[in-house]
Symmetry: C2
Amino acid sequence: MEQESRQINFAFIGFGHVGRAFARLLIDRRKWLLKEYGIEWKVTGIATKSHGTAIDSQGLPVKKILSSWKRHSNIDNFHNGPACSSPTDFIRQCGADVLFEMSVLDLSGEPAATYIREALGAGLHVITTNKGPVATHFRQLTGLARLRGVRFLYEGTVMDGAPVFNMLRQTLPATRIRSLRGILNSTTNHILTQMEQGTPFEAALDYARDAGIAEADPSLDLDGWDSAAKLSILIQAMMGGRVKPKDIERSSITEETGRIVRAAIRRERRLRLVARAYRQGGRVIGKVELQELEVFDPLAAIRGLSNILIINTDTMRELAIVENNPSVDQTAFGLFSDLISLLR
Amino acid sequence: MEQESRQINFAFIGFGHVGRAFARLLIDRRKWLLKEYGIEWKVTGIATKSHGTAIDSQGLPVKKILSSWKRHSNIDNFHNGPACSSPTDFIRQCGADVLFEMSVLDLSGEPAATYIREALGAGLHVITTNKGPVATHFRQLTGLARLRGVRFLYEGTVMDGAPVFNMLRQTLPATRIRSLRGILNSTTNHILTQMEQGTPFEAALDYARDAGIAEADPSLDLDGWDSAAKLSILIQAMMGGRVKPKDIERSSITEETGRIVRAAIRRERRLRLVARAYRQGGRVIGKVELQELEVFDPLAAIRGLSNILIINTDTMRELAIVENNPSVDQTAFGLFSDLISLLR
């Protein structure tokens, strides 16, 4: 495809595992983006919680920042612009067309929801992997985006880059979801299935943490909050319900759960943390429960960091999508696929 | 969405289980199509092999034809237009914007490929569920469609309406498929998994036939031709290979296979007809094989008429899509989802 190239400016809030993986993916696909969509991009701003903030309207040296990244890196010295004292300042001054919001999960949805609101209000498109603000402020943020004529996209919030929202939106027309169930949290699934094989709880948790998969605060995984936030987004975006994370019953996974896991195995069954939603009298109910499943249940086959979502629809009956052993690269791909939706 | 409505004319070649299910779906979604896409549709022609042919530029009474349909129905008496002595005549005179080609599978791809060529050449969009012509004439037909500026879509050829081609095209940008494997034929999977439970071969085959799932000539299922045709389409459309069905090694399923199925069960393993494709030195190789799988292989979990496709990609690692117990309604939905792609 030949077309004139146009310049597009990106800003990042958050530059952790996911943000850096996304930056690498953008660099890797630079030629592809130019060839397929005629775009040249630069990153004009990066704001982090503990690694400083930098704005440069000429484009930050992302490759250099990545290659020299260390645990205590600080990007303040790349800043080349007006002083910027707060994230709100940052959003106003970063000169971006698209804001990628990748800060860590907080159940209140704040401060990310404020950042997103600020950005949408200023006419920026926003793409996020952050479940918090999407789950807690879904109607407000999608409504604001519509009002301002910009896009608010969040494919990476559930099952990383596996097409969930995009699949329903773009490939399943005129389809109503009756119910859904799945395994949406990698950390707890890894722990449960490692405990099946005798691995201790702590060792399994450490593995997920080292892979950059566990939440910064692992209790968000273990107490079912991460699953509940994802389920809340699925319910609001795909089923038209109004269920917030706090409205969802949850089970927790602890060291003690190992006993239940092993007892299930002896009965030829498998324990999984199942997120599900169903309709009841005009409402949608969401639950995140530890369930003992028959071995031939498709959810029982999901092991390690893998995820599954099964949707029950009025057009295609039951469809399942499975993501096998994701890493942060797959979360980064969620941001990338949203970027492509936006460019289209 | 408010927009002026526009008229779109459809023609059908073939009016068997799938064609009639699609007609019912169109009727069912008439209001939705008007509301979402501002289109009013009519069917201006139906051509069948053994139930006659009818053209009416005012629109055929599809509801009436459906409700009075019997094994020996003939639609000739609904014909209201110039005499039309051949399918080629039909295509030229049917006055359609979109041709839905739903005739039965023939491994040569003919005569369907001729119909499709004729229609594309005459500037009609073509949507098909017919594996034959897509597998055997892939480059010719996609090339012709491009040349004539019309769409040639075939989502329903593999896994019915489950988004396979649309998923890759619309939701997995910049993604290269390294390899894929799956269970693509419902009839043989139903037979294999029924034989696991002691059901005789013939009874299991009859069930698939009665459900309208088995091919008109069941040897196309049993000898792996249906799987090979689907695999050929996946390879050509998604991996850029040039593998035709006849280039694909196949296994057959017979009454004798029951013995192997039961022997596998005794070893805690499962027999499945596995279609797979992989790259080797710049080429793509396709195989359809009876494989004995570990019980925890995701393919072993696929039972009855269900299908699965696992793609191994450079962006999302492994993604699987599972379609549970499809009927002809799900094949019809494949045509419908292609129609929506076209309207977009």
